[in-house]
């Protein structure tokens, strides 16, 4: 376990490039609880041990069976008859000496009976192949303790995940395609002063051809505004005219033929996005309007305090806009012009961040907290990501299962297409009922497959009746779920193993956005769907 910082840096290099040193630190401070070391469970844990979570604890009261050892990479034939938690811990621990592995030879139901607070110590609890009653009990305990709960199930060729977390904030969501924050529609003073230093008409060709497109668009926009009563180009026709105006700014040679000026080509290409009005994304507006933002108390999390500070900024120094992000995309330009332009945005971002800091200090003081309790570094990071902030709120299991609050609309509208992945959600619920009634799953033994079909159908009907779902489930699905015989094929377990582990990493690191809140994977068609139930 005494890995040097250097050797860990080398080992984890490929993932550090995704979530950074601070993300890795969060992982290394995490303690994950896995309930049930089935193939699905150990595959999930493998994908958490390899990247170096601090510790894991497996809770499992079962003994290893022959079929367990047959589909599970972390159970050997020698472990048959031994406690499954212990057997799996050995082989999982062996994957990464940086990680500390523990096990509890007990069923989760027993722990809930005798010591429910046992679960409070974990960063996240992952429950695999759990019956409905255990999920609901555990869900309630973890909800009250604000411990995130991830439920996973492999049932035949179907994979299922349910995330239960009350409120999960994400500052670094790392969006795939983010719009740039250039403020060309509402240039700030330092930017306006900067472009004053450019006189395109009098520039030598070399300088002219290496002027950043942002400056070009800004200059021509100034001209346009002065000629059009301060109205920016709005429709296609006007934007075309604006592009033409820029095009005519290209230097011509002695024969009147336009020269090759790639920076002007870039300007013309970027006109559309450059003219997009600077707007606060609706996701962020919603956050501004939420209770937690408007009611800052001593219990408020760092996220909400910073968000409120940004909101104050928006209504004051920001003049209705978020703090400037401070980054610009690469563009054709000589080094100096580019760096100078970049610095203009960078300095504005620093000023805005400093203003937000002042609001943070005020807020902290107002609730009796020391102003240094939120660092400059954190505030800077928050401001840089202001457009991308996300908060994920999952409904509790109680809400999902309660007749009065079940998401009937979503379920019935999805079932308008009878082959929607929603049918698998309903079948899993029906199978849970079957287990409750018969203390076993349908079709485990060959001779049971046929006769369990009618029994399972009764469970399906009672489910639909209880919730007054006016939907039809094809008999083929009922047959298929009896055919599955509660099998847990390794490849489906492995698919869920990867999916669930990454969701757990998102929860632990607060980077990237977790799903909300039900994920279904169909290995027959290699399709999936996410529902908010």
């Amino acid at each position: 376990m005494a890995a040097t910082k250097d050797s860990k840096e080398q080992k984890y290099d490929r993932q550090l490039r995704l979530w950074g040193d601070h993300g890795q630190e969060a992982l290394e401070n995490a303690h994950v609880c896995l309930i049930n070391a089935t193939a699905t469970g150990t595959e999930i844990l493998k994908n958490l041990v390899l990247p170096g979570i601090g510790a894991f604890t497996i809770v499992d009261g079962h003994s290893v069976s022959g079929e367990d050892a047959g589909n599970n990479f972390f159970l050997s034939v020698d472990s048959i008859g031994k406690n499954r938690a212990q057997a799996a811990t050995e082989l999982l621990q062996e994957l990464n000496s940086d990680v500390s592995g523990n096990f509890v030879e007990e069923s989760p139901d027993k722990l809930l009976d005798n010591d429910p607070e046992f679960f409070h110590r974990f960063t996240i609890v992952i429950g695999v192949q759990l019956p409905e009653s255990t999920c609901l009990r555990l869900g309630s305990v973890l909800w009250s303790a604000s411990v995130p709960f991830l439920i996973c199930k492999t049932y035949g060729l179907i994979g299922y995940m349910r995330l239960v977390v009350q409120e999960h904030s994400v500052i670094e969501s790392h969006p795939d395609n983010a719009l740039e924050d250039l403020r060309l529609d509402q240039p700030f003073d330092d930017f306006k002063n900067h472009i004053k230093s450019y006189d395109l008409a009098s520039m030598e060709k070399k300088d002219h051809s290496h002027t950043p497109w942002v400056i070009i668009v800004a200059k021509f926009l100034e001209r346009w505004l002065s000629e059009h009563n301060n109205q920016p180009p709005k429709n296609y026709k006007e934007k075309e005219a604006f592009r033409q105006m820029i095009r005519e700014g290209i230097i011509k040679n002695e024969n009147g033929v336009p020269e090759d000026e790639e920076n002007f080509d870039e300007a013309i290409k970027n006109v559309n996005t450059a003219l997009n009005p600077t707007k606060i994304p609706s996701t962020v507006e919603d956050l501004f309007n939420s209770e937690q933002c408007n009611n800052i108390t001593a219990q408020s999390s760092v996220f909400w305090v910073m968000l409120r500070a940004v909101k104050e900024f928006v209504h004051n120094e920001g003049n209705g806009s978020l703090p400037v992000r401070g980054t610009i995309p690469d563009m054709i330009a000589d080094s100096q012009k580019f760096i100078n332009l970049q610095n203009v945005y960078r300095e504005k971002a620093m000023q805005d961040s400093a203003a937000v800091s002042k609001h943070v200090e005020c807020l902290l003081q107002s609730v009796g907290k020391p102003p240094e309790s939120i660092s400059e570094k954190d505030i800077k990071l928050f401001c840089k990501n202001a457009s991308f902030l996300r908060v994920v709120r999952c409904r509790s299991l109680a809400e999902e299962y309660n007749v009065d609050s079940i998401n009937k609309d979503e379920i019935t509208s999805c079932m308008d297409s009878p082959d929607s992945e929603m049918v698998f959600y309903l079948m899993l619920r029906a199978v849970d009922r079957f287990y409750q009634q018969h203390s076993r799953y349908p079709g485990v033994y060959n001779y049971q497959v046929e006769e369990d079909i009618s029994k399972l159908k009764l469970c399906v009907n009672s489910l639909l009746q209880e919730y007054s779902f006016n939907v039809n489930i094809k008999d083929d699905y009922i047959h298929e779920f009896c055919r599955y015989g509660a099998a847990e094929p390794h490849t489906v377990s492995a698919f869920l193993g990867g999916s669930a582990a990454q969701e757990a990493i998102k929860i632990i690191s607060h980077q990237f956005v977790p799903f909300n809140n039900t994920f279904i994977y169909n290995a027959m068609s290699q399709t999936s769907a996410t529902f908010q139930l």
Binding site: R17, L50, P51, V449, P489, T491, S499, Q502, V513
Partner: protein, 460 residues
């Protein structure tokens, strides 16, 4: 209650006995009771969604255990996962090819390797691990490049599954499987088709596809899905850097060859001393231009063209691939038709679609490729077309043709002496080289195991 129990118990006893008889042969080879229970439900039971060709049988498991031969190409992030998945699905006759040795940066996801294995061949360590962990499994390793084998090697496999990190290698194996197809009177013989399952990952994105060579879209049919790698323009690197990456490329491309800091050795991205040298020079250059952001990590990333990677994405994609191998080997279900895209940056997103065959695909369409050039075009232009065209994307094509009954090399880059001899041809026009309208040229390239024939049609 006692009466109701008896039939149940009796039936279970009969069931157990039947199962014991069925697995006896499995026991001979390191099996145990219930070992394949999870798999057998999909092989021995009829179902409403199975493939039309599916027949429930106890022999299907025997086919997997004793006969079905799978080739896994790559023993890295995807390869390790694939070997585990196949072994736990009943496959035992598995070969794995990988030309690489283990690096410490592999250990965050290539879970068959340990710190003590660094430096050893991936294929061999992976095979050992699997064979030890999964009794009865016989993985055969090959510490080789895929190009070291010919069609007699590849023909022995029922299914080939790839976890490669190079488009060139993908195109090569794709071309190889197309070359072993046999046609009778223009009709494809289905028994000559070797299904190719291909997986790829990058950070949190991945894809898995099923290719039936000669029948469904091949790698080259969808080449546009892999846009060519963008390199920074030389003038930016040489005189107008703006980003820290530009400074690093300056040190790598211009300063290293000029200063030869470690003698006449080429830059080795795996040598920390080399990276340190590039890092220092990059910092110098960056400070000259006031460019922030040069770090050791960035330097290494740019020099080695590092693609970030985690265990989870590889687990997902390899799982999807292995599921397809199982479906095809057993006809248990209709296979993926034919392309799956996965992304879990924001929630989990999958998209499944049918990639279409390209009518004039250079690899699988059997249609002779027509090129249009004026006779005054220089050979250089033909070369550029072969490398830059989005559907061709060749790397360093060697062009030969037949003139006056004799085979003549027009240009070849990979052998220094021939390159020097044929270089003047690049400036000559097609007419000057003696080519006539409709002339066929044969082009060889790393992207394909067989030469591609092109017909040059003269334009006005």
């Amino acid at each position: 209650m006692a009466d109701a129990e008896e039939p149940e118990k009796k039936r279970r006893r009969i069931e157990d006995l039947t199962e014991k008889m069925a697995v006896e042969s499995g026991h001979r080879d390191g099996g145990w009771d219930g070992r394949w229970n999870h798999v057998r439900k999909f092989l021995e039971r009829p179902g409403p969604f199975t493939h039309p060709d599916f027949e429930p049988s106890t022999e299907s498991l025997q086919f997997l255990l004793e006969t079905c031969k799978i080739l896994v190409i790559g023993a890295g992030g995807l390869g390790c996962e694939l070997l585990k998945n196949l072994a736990l699905s009943g496959f035992r006759l598995i070969h794995v090819v990988d030309m690489d040795t283990i690096d410490v940066s592999n250990l965050n996801r290539q879970f068959l390797f340990r710190p003590k294995d660094v430096g050893r061949p991936k294929a061999e360590v992976a095979a050992d691990f699997i064979n030890n962990r999964i009794p009865g499994c016989k993985v055969v390793p090959h510490f080789k490049k895929i190009q070291d084998f010919d069609e007699s090697f590849y023909r022995q496999f029922h299914i080939i599954v790839c976890g490669l990190d190079s488009i060139i290698a993908r195109r090569w194996i794709n071309g190889m499987l197309i070359s072993v197809l046999s046609y009778e009177d223009g009709v494809l013989d289905p028994s000559s088709i070797i299904p190719l399952i291909d997986g790829g990952t990058e950070g949190f994105k991945g894809n898995a596809r099923v290719i039936l060579p000669g029948m469904t879209a091949c790698i080259d049919c969808t080449l546009e899905l892999y846009p060519p790698q963008i390199n920074f323009p030389m003038c930016t690197i040489a005189s107008m850097p703006r980003l820290p990456e530009h400074c690093i490329e300056y040190a790598r491309i211009l300063q290293w060859p000029k200063e030869q800091p470690f003698g006449e050795t080429s830059l080795d991205g795996d040598n920390p001393e080399h990276i340190q040298w590039v890092f220092e020079r990059s910092k110098d250059r960056a400070s000259q231009f006031n460019i922030p952001g040069v770090t050791y990590r960035l330097t290494q990333g740019v020099v080695k063209r590092i693609i970030p990677a985690v265990a989870s994405t590889n687990a997902v994609i390899a799982a999807a691939c292995a599921t397809e191998v199982f479906k095809i080997a057993t006809s248990a279900y209709i296979p993926l038709n034919n392309y799956l895209v996965f992304n879990d940056v924001d929630g989990l997103y999958t998209y499944t679609f049918e990639a279409e065959r390209k009518e004039n695909c250079t690899a699988c369409s059997q249609v002779p490729q027509d090129l249009q050039f004026p006779p005054s075009a220089k050979l250089q232009e033909v070369l550029e077309y072969l490398t830059e065209n989005a559907s061709l994307q060749m790397k360093s094509p060697a062009i030969t043709t037949t003139l006056e009954g004799k085979n003549k090399t027009l240009y070849l880059q990979s052998v220094k002496s021939i390159e020097e001899r044929t270089r003047p041809n690049l400036c000559k026009t097609l007419k000057e080289l003696g080519l006539s309208d409709g002339q066929e040229i044969a082009v060889a390239d790393v992207t394909t195991p067989q030469t591609v024939l092109f017909k040059i049609n003269f334009t006005a």
